[in-house]
Symmetry: D3
Subunit: 303 residues, 6 copies
């Protein structure tokens, strides 16, 4: 057939090839859930929201069920300062008194979620914002501080309300702010990376994508393409990971050990990073996956 | 059988009577949607949230589908001032520049909604917060200012996304912040009373309850138990209604003319006002209903 | 808020309180099945049927699935005598020859069921009468008489056709006459209290209410509020229960040992006894429930 | 193939032929509803119940939905007399005072229905007895007596509760006693032939079979195989039909004019009359059908 | 009632009896799957197709789900010869080179299936032709030839795509050609008797009917009415079965040992052989069934 | 964000762009039916089947429901000649006597369908072959020959069994041979282009793709990118279209006039022609579409 005369230019033919090269990846992921965590720093670049909406639209088109989780550290600090409250951190964790908690909630649920949802809907992706209090989506308890200083309303997620999420995923992309509640209704600030990992585990997701503002895990300035959970732990323990990367590595390990087959630390500043990671052989960033001989916590059953 | 000897005290017997007196009202409302608008001023009293949760729980128990809409004027003004922005009103409408819009959105979606949702969930009522941007729930256009001054991002609702609401009502009480969006994703501040009326019309609700901080419509200090839409209009035109009551009367008229059989202006400071209005013959506050001979815009069909 | 001025009288406010005090009980029972056995003697008072219909209507309104079982001893004896057949009892059991069986069937299925169904429907409760022969609802074998005299067509229920009942409960309240059949179609008279217990066990009911014409189990003229199955057996064995109470206690024990959490002997002469038992903290009559450490026959699973 | 050697005897081969000759009739009726009215006089022969059960079983096997309606005149008179009440008839209609009504209800719902249901279930046909009061199945008003004597509790059916019947037909054969109720719950005696016709019309039945104790409509001792509604009316008006046949002809006319394509007066004393009428070309008895050019009241739509 | 006067002739009455005699057999088989294998030699008689369609129509009418499997040996040989390819057999198996495979596929899927489907549809039985390649219905591997000569593209079925069959059976009778495929899409000729047995096992069929051109298994010229699997094996091993009967016996044994309760070798030349086998007590041909004490491979569960 | 440092090469980034450029086309077609007609001459190139399977797999991945229709002229002529039957054509139509009909059926249903189905299944696309006789999928009558010579068993499609197709499309790609039947079961050869058009109209398809062995409609050696139905007719009438193109133009016109928005004549020799036509802005071949002001026969409703 290759010799058949044709009026279709070579350039157009190449497009078909690229589309079809993505087919095996689409087949692999169709019908599964993918959790994407977007960081506050990435979301500050307004030029990245439209391509992100395009990516999620394509995911949904091929039958993938995306879920978005976000934090908003820089924006919280910004509003705090505008209100005269100087942010305080202990070991990288925000000390969250009642005033800071109220600021965090307004920023996360009333600003970042709203902007993400508006951008996705404008890009043709039906999206609905959720905070951890909605239907007790993220149920937490106060984080035990041990011997350290009191961190205030910082929580640890104990349970994810999967039923509500599944109900919503059928009609829209959930955009989840990293605020949690306890049974009495008290709110807590929770780490967004870890919240994303726990949502991924609870939904038996196929992948967790952590969009950051670096190219991935670097060692001596070189991108490390793949790490096992064990290697992640060693890296954290040896201090080989810089401060911002530590919670990402911990979240990736939590996801993989919780049964999510693969977690990826990906450069979210790159437009269409999600599509590149999912649908091209090159992938992007650093992948964390259990090696065949390293036992993981739980089998991921077909939904 | 009234003469039968019994060990059950009279007081207990009376309880059964009160429960059963509510039965005809339950029968009347079961299976229908009731929209309740709670005002920012009412929601500032923390002691009112728990009884409100109890009320909604009972509504749901007898098969009623409640939907909550809220504003948050006082809280918006408060945060604005803390950020150094003095609120400006023209004819009772907030002038909403970009900064004020951001403040309004944070307060409504990130504070008032969150507190309502947390309180309802803590009271055993599954609730999910929604902003007008979620799934383009409240689609608006910028309000035409006519010859008056520019009010900024103040919108008029054009369409309510009924499908998303119906999907959610099946599993939780929607708690809707009076923020809307246009098709490009631009947010708008909208009047909460009118938003509630439009949600009620779109959902073909059986009732609209407007919870306020007065006993109802007063005339010469006396509560007016019932008004027709025409009488509401006359009252507004004649200046007989005070400033805060005008949008409530307009919302009630919009609801009734849009096919909602009855709208009620009720004293939200009274604990369990919702139950009293719905399940007792006395009712509460002022009812607006189309008189039999006054045509309304649309028939409300059985769902 | 308690200090807020209000035009709603205190009396009306108290109503809301009583309604909401019932809410925890409604939550406890919603979605479950409650079997109510009404005795022939109670049903002879025409003034009790309308309040009973009201009670069932409220039960259904809050999502409870009531099932009614009835006997009709006095009415059977009455028609027998009118036809010249003198009723004969041995140890409290009716000797049921072919003629008596025909009389019993006519009275139970053709008179008591009909009256109950008509009364419930007139009270707005959709009801459908069922006899044990309908779809082989109550499948029985002839009761072994041991060394005693021949009791004739008195049966013991072996199987309850749950599928037919579940199918009907979706649309109406089943009103079941205590007549059973064997596989050949031969009818048998069965004890109504025990039939109700077996229906309750088969439907995995949440409660069995036995409406009688006494205030409950009495000891020295005092109402005994609660008994364990063991205590019931002792009471029967020791002769401490009077004749009419014995089958009730046996039925309560059979229900509880079959997995029904609680059985109640309640004064059916008291209007709204069902509501009082279910929705008030005082309850009514005598409750039979397995103590925590007394093993019951079967776990009651959620339906 | 007719010449192929075979070890199968001719007699066996003929059976296949007869089975397959019935196939076109099965195809014609499968999926449709057939209402069969059985008379009290027929049901007095215990030898006819087992073959009738066999017939209904075959109907259900080929996808037909049978519904049974019955009266019980002789049995009512019999019990009346045993209770010392002499039956009184005016123009063939039973004068039904309160005592007679109670007798009729006991006989119809408590004896004839019970026996039919037991016989059908014993024959492997799941059956459930229904009285007109069940779910207000047959809603009636008191028959206007005009200038004639007071007939007492004799009713005319105004409405048939089709929803309940359809719900039941899915799981069992409804066996309906010709007792009706009004909205207040008052019972009425109704003519069983006419009740069957109205049930057939309400269910959009394909056929109404009236099983009688004569071979069909006779004219000069000869069976009339077919009549139009007009001819039926003429026959009744001219006095050409004997007393027992008049209500049958009226019921057949009511059914056909109400949209039932065909009504048949069939000899119920003949075992398997139902099968013969439905599945053989010979049919049985007298058919009443609208001639092509005689307009009928309503089109019968496929269900 | 037998003495009742009737105008219905005895001959007609006998028809009802024969119909009802079939009822127990209908009850036994309704809701089950019956696999019928029709041989190429039988299908060459055009007079047999219409009665076969009638049979399947009756089966479907009483709720049986028939599936047809066919071969076409004589027709394959015929077309081969017309194309100049002389058929070669080794031990009764067709040597299938690429040309013969193409001929076999055209004959089976393009001629025999087409004729069967056309005949069934013309007889009112909705039918759809399927080849083993359709949805990988019959997945095979190349038959290991052992030391013998190369048989070419002759396959052994490894898996039957039950999901596709079940989906189709709901709307039509599947007519399956005995062609299979492997995972690469390579076609294979498979034995039709064995294919039918494997389809029957995979569908948990109630019966396998093998329609042949002899009266059944003969011993000394006498029809053997029943054989156990063990007896079948002995018969094959002892050479007591003639060449054509060997694969039928092997298929019957495979079906019964795979959990199909009964397999029958029936004379397909006899019109309505299927009906006679299924619905008359005489049956037809030879039945193979596991004796009570001979364990079979698998329990047949109710569908 | 374009200035962000990234380790992802430009080449990889371009892939994301091409994937996302296809998104608007996917959105346009998702949920719709696309009918693809593949010609016998195209299907003779074995190298084209695997890319065609890839194309259909991608279509299904993005929610499109493809249906394949095929002819097989060259292959029919080939087998005819091998069997000693010289093909005869009148005005481009094959004279189809009984022998030729049998050959055509074997080739279409037993060879071409089988090969297409095997190739699609091997490429991961579940496919099921259908002939017009399956469930009377293509119901035809004999083509009226007018004054011309007798063409034999050449038919015109009168009706397409949409229900069967819809049932199958849910689980597999239907591959339809252009053979039809009449109600008596007689087979007819039908034109494959026209059959595809009629299937497209019956299924309310979004597009009809006619894969040919030329680049499209040519005028003076130049590809004509778009034609209205009127221009197609003129082209045929003026003799401006060569012989092979006439039935394609007629089919395109029939489809568009029957309500299919667009029909395309595409070069099937080009691998992935289907993807290029559907998912790139360049498209491929010649499009036939109703101009806005040219009325079409029927509105295409959303399914």
């Amino acid at each position: 057939m290759s010799g058949a005369p044709s009026l279709v230019p070579q350039r157009t033919r190449a497009k078909a090839r690229i589309l079809l090269d993505a087919l095996p990846y689409m087949r692999e992921h169709t019908g599964t859930t993918i959790v994407v965590k977007v960081g506050g720093s990435v979301m500050e670049d307004p030029g990245l929201l439209a391509p992100f909406a395009e990516d999620l639209s394509l995911l949904r088109m091929v039958g993938i069920r995306p879920v978005v989780v976000h934090g908003g550290g820089p924006q919280i600090s910004d509003l705090s300062r505008r209100l005269g409250i100087e942010p305080v951190f202990v070991d990288g964790l925000r000390v969250t008194d009642a005033s800071t908690l109220e600021v965090a909630r307004m920023v996360l649920a009333g600003k970042v979620t709203e902007e993400l949802v508006a951008g996705l809907n404008a890009g043709g992706v039906p999206a609905v914002g959720l905070s951890g209090g909605d239907g007790r989506l993220l149920l937490a308890r106060r984080r035990a501080d041990g011997d350290g200083p009191d961190l205030g309303f910082v929580g640890e997620i104990e349970e994810v309300n999967v039923a509500l999420l599944e109900h919503l995923i059928d009609v829209a992309v959930p955009v989840i702010a990293s605020m949690a509640v306890d049974r009495s209704g008290q709110a807590y600030n929770v780490n967004a990376d870890l919240a994303a990992a726990q949502v991924a585990v609870a939904l038996r997701a196929h992948k967790l994508l952590l969009l950051t503002d670096v190219p991935g895990v670097l060692r001596d300035g070189e991108l490390v393409p793949e790490l096992s959970p064990l290697e992640c732990r060693d890296l954290v323990a040896s201090g080989g990971a810089d401060g911002g990367m530590v919670p990402k590595l911990e979240a990736a390990v939590a996801a993989v050990e919780g049964g999510v087959p693969r977690a990826h630390v990906v450069d979210g500043r790159l437009p269409h990073a999600t599509i590149l990671e999912l649908f091209t052989p090159e992938g992007a960033g650093t992948m964390v996956a259990a090696p065949v001989d390293e036992p993981v916590g739980e089998e991921v059953a077909a939904p």
